[in-house]
Symmetry: C2
Subunit: 450 residues, 2 copies
Amino acid sequence: MEETKIMLEEKEIPTAWYNILPDLPKPLQPYLNPATQEPGGLALPPPLFAAELSKQEGSMEQWIDIPGKVMDIYRLYRPTPLFRAKRLEAVLGTPAKIYYKNEGWSPPGSHKPNTAIAQAYYVKDQGLKRIATETGAGQWGSALAFACRLLGLECSVYMVKVSYNQKPYRRVLMETWGADVTPSPSKKTNAGTKILEDDPDCSGSLGIAISEAVEDAATHDDTLYSLGSVLNHVLLHQTIIGLECKKQFEKVGDYPDVIFGCIGGGSSLGGISLPYVKDKLEGKKVRIVAVEPEACPSLTKGLYAYDFGDTAHLAPIAKMYTLGHTFVPDPIHAGGLRYHGDSPLICSLYDQGLIEAVAYHQNPVFEAAVTFAQSEGIIPAPETAHAIKAGIDEAINCKESKESKTILINLTGHGYFDLAAYDDYLSGKLEDYEYPEAKIKEALTHLPKV
Amino acid sequence: MEETKIMLEEKEIPTAWYNILPDLPKPLQPYLNPATQEPGGLALPPPLFAAELSKQEGSMEQWIDIPGKVMDIYRLYRPTPLFRAKRLEAVLGTPAKIYYKNEGWSPPGSHKPNTAIAQAYYVKDQGLKRIATETGAGQWGSALAFACRLLGLECSVYMVKVSYNQKPYRRVLMETWGADVTPSPSKKTNAGTKILEDDPDCSGSLGIAISEAVEDAATHDDTLYSLGSVLNHVLLHQTIIGLECKKQFEKVGDYPDVIFGCIGGGSSLGGISLPYVKDKLEGKKVRIVAVEPEACPSLTKGLYAYDFGDTAHLAPIAKMYTLGHTFVPDPIHAGGLRYHGDSPLICSLYDQGLIEAVAYHQNPVFEAAVTFAQSEGIIPAPETAHAIKAGIDEAINCKESKESKTILINLTGHGYFDLAAYDDYLSGKLEDYEYPEAKIKEALTHLPKV
């Protein structure tokens, strides 16, 4: 009998993250300082990130040991299972073999703790006692709140006010783990105070929340800042996903022909695929596909250029596929995929043809999510449902071409906190926004002149 | 290095449920027909339950094979991990070893699918195509919706109207799995129509929802009824939990001194403990403790007597510890523990001194839940948090007595759908209701005269 879940033992959890930087055919272009536009890493004064994280950001070590205390917390939910989606295959009538890596069993319900735990550990290890961060819908904030509590750090989360008011449950989740959650804009920072003076009813934005979190970290000696995606060190920590997958496929004597991950900032796709990019660079045949929303199509429709990482011009300027940092996507339910750019690392691989990209509207994405939920049981988050949609399309193509491909999908989170979106879909209220051509064109006029 | 999670392989999932009926020192007293008050099983005309389930209800076979198709679906989330709660032990500073069985990784998020899958299978196997059931807050309804979808059955859920309106996410969960969810009372049934004629604004009750589901099943030839707790066959299916625990403890060479499970209808406590009751009857020393809310203290303050199983007098009359079927508990957040009685099987074991019972107010229960969430990471459901509270108290006692006891807690579900309750607790709004002495006294005057 074939297993439904391919499991690893705890002692088989990889003990080092894979750093792709030394293996890249072309080195990444440097970050630029947002104020001076001069090259520099993340170690801008005052240091926002833990020293070890800034070091990892540009490290040329191929393998970076996972600290023991990080492993201890990983073991609360890792190794995560690799499922063979036999029920979904039967429903689709496909000869393809569909596998999905389920990261949704972590306490915060997504893959985000893989890096949150690591980041919190390095901050703690540096003798500091507090992390400030921002969160939109709350997935990153809850992962960091969880990690900070288990490592004995304080956690201060600036949550976009509209989400704070409309999505109270993610806030409560963070508070249950002891985090201090502030609706942004707030009077706690100069940035927030100034915005509230101009517009007391401002409902906030991720850009404003970043400004507040960065100011909080910059003005408190005991506090550092933390980011949940985009950066090299975040993708580094997420490679634990792909490294486990490789061991799991070895157990069943299989290997993926094609890998699907959703992409917002890049940590989900990067996490599962970077160890396979390594294989690909060594001559192995494997396709890697980034799946993004049509409403925010940075890879498929963006420009490969230097742009600000955030609307407030506080994060480093990075070379990436971007829609322009002033671009505001339509309010699709996959909030985690509404970033104007993408990880510079993923963008570089895409630019070199090592990664493909595809974009979908949200209605077909939710249709795929419901097909998945009704066959495999798991309700996926709207973000990860993009990868499922692309995986299902590939499996359907296999049916037509009679190919028995091995498909791997990164299922990075459950959708328990996204049931309002499912409700909208099931009741026919979900809108597929038109391609925002004019908005993108306008936003691309605001790129920094570098 | 000791493992954090004691795992089993899929091939180690027990292949038979344990039926305690033939091993009981005293046979259970028979169910009585609610109309005639004559002895009889569950096979009242018209048959409400699948024939195989009625047979299991009184079976004298010690082991009942788990059908292959049930095993197939179990493998989507079973075997579930047995965690060693080392972080919690450290926070408490206890010499006790605390373990918890985590049933929260099932797609519906609780232990309920263990029986929902089995029940749906037997209904399907009997050639029928639809199940009707009731649900309060939605935990049972969502488990049955999940099971029905994966087995290709239709599922009709009558959801108490106040929950339907106040807790839309559980409804959406059921609808995503394709269930038809009706706010109860409804005009779909005579029972509901009559109630709405008298009171068009009636917000419903579990009793009314049961009446509607039973009428739905009784008036449709292709439909049977299904219950999520209390009955012997439900506890039988849940023994998979305790059977896995026994294998897991064998792996680490340990054995529980004391087992804690919350009790509403009895499926959580029974599921983890019945295989250990077997050991106890064979001379092994193990304590088993049922943990109930002070607001609904059927074991600790109820009367051991024959009572109706439901307010509408449709379910069989059963001998159990009861607060009286007209008793309406205060609105504590642990909705699943608000049943006036308990499983007749558990009540019999309690009556014979084989099981202990303890009751807690909800504030200390949530305090324990937050301690657990902040040490082990997992946010438990309010119901299962009762077992955690009792487990923590035992561990604290061990600290004082310097005993290194082995404590086992049944963690039967996550609290992602209960964050409003955590919000109330964290903001000091949670009420500890007084012992409802007068209400119980009054309700106990309405027992059937048998």
